[in-house]
Symmetry: C2
Subunit: 145 residues, 2 copies
Amino acid sequence: MGIGTLASRAGCQVQTVRYYEQIGLLPPAMRNAGNQRRYDNATLRRLTFIRHARDFGFSVEAVRELLGMADHPDMPCDHADAIAKRHLEEVEARIERLSALRDELKRMVAQCAGGRVDECRIVEVLSDHQQCLHAADHGGQQTIR
Amino acid sequence: MGIGTLASRAGCQVQTVRYYEQIGLLPPAMRNAGNQRRYDNATLRRLTFIRHARDFGFSVEAVRELLGMADHPDMPCDHADAIAKRHLEEVEARIERLSALRDELKRMVAQCAGGRVDECRIVEVLSDHQQCLHAADHGGQQTIR
DNA sequence: ATAAAACCTAAAGCCGCTATAGCTTCAAGA
DNA sequence: TCTTGAAGCTATAGCGGCTTTAGGTTTTAT
Ligand SMILES: [Zn+2]
Ligand SMILES: [Zn+2]
Ligand SMILES: [Zn+2]
Ligand SMILES: [Zn+2]
């Protein structure tokens, strides 16, 4: 199949497939007489695995390792498990951080009475971190992903 | 004060201050005889506002609008409120998506018995989206932030 | 034969900074 | 006053994970 068919079957964009080839997640594709990439079902399965892992939020580097392990079915799965556990922890940390953020935002929005900017609770809170309840949960230089 | 003092009081890096000036969040700074930036307390307050809003996860464009409104205290605050509400909704959507992800990851990790790769539940699930419970909650081409 | 759709490569753009390189200026101690 | 080291300057590149654009070639359908 061509790259368009492959991409649509895997649920991603054509350029993404070429990008994955470029960074070595997919092997260099076979070409037809006119230099266009041709794929088989093995590559479709590989790409589907990649997309699924990415949808799970695994980084490209993690996906690279997971793919490497999927290529060796007779090896022990310890490392795959470690990667998944670490990712789970990261996801849980993000959820906690976002939840604190959500609470603070809710409080902010709820207290706005809809008047002038200088009476607005939103602008007021943003101007003064002291007015935050869970002050420790944001204000560092961490990202909020 | 100099840029280093400003940055450390606002809790950000020196380069970030210069970056904010470059993208127009901060006005072009006054310079001393040796071409170094000098700041007053008004700029410190503005930078603190920016950092606080960024810590809340507002995008730079949202911060730009919020700043514009904070500069006009006599205007109605409708738009600030709309921005905050929309951001709250986005945060809630992220939390929901991440929670579904967390559940799926937990299930995956819990079911791994620690054997060979070809018996590993993690590799198995990643290979086959059918095995996911909340299949709809991931698998699109959305990002998982 | 022609035109539209799909494909090709290479390079730039996105976000929000962060880091590097190679310079100049400032502040404090001897 | 001289010297050193910290702090500042500009310009540019890099991060992740793609997406977009530009300018071409090949395939496919009529
Ligand atoms: Zn308001
Ligand atoms: Zn705060
Ligand atoms: Zn396992
Ligand atoms: Zn799935």
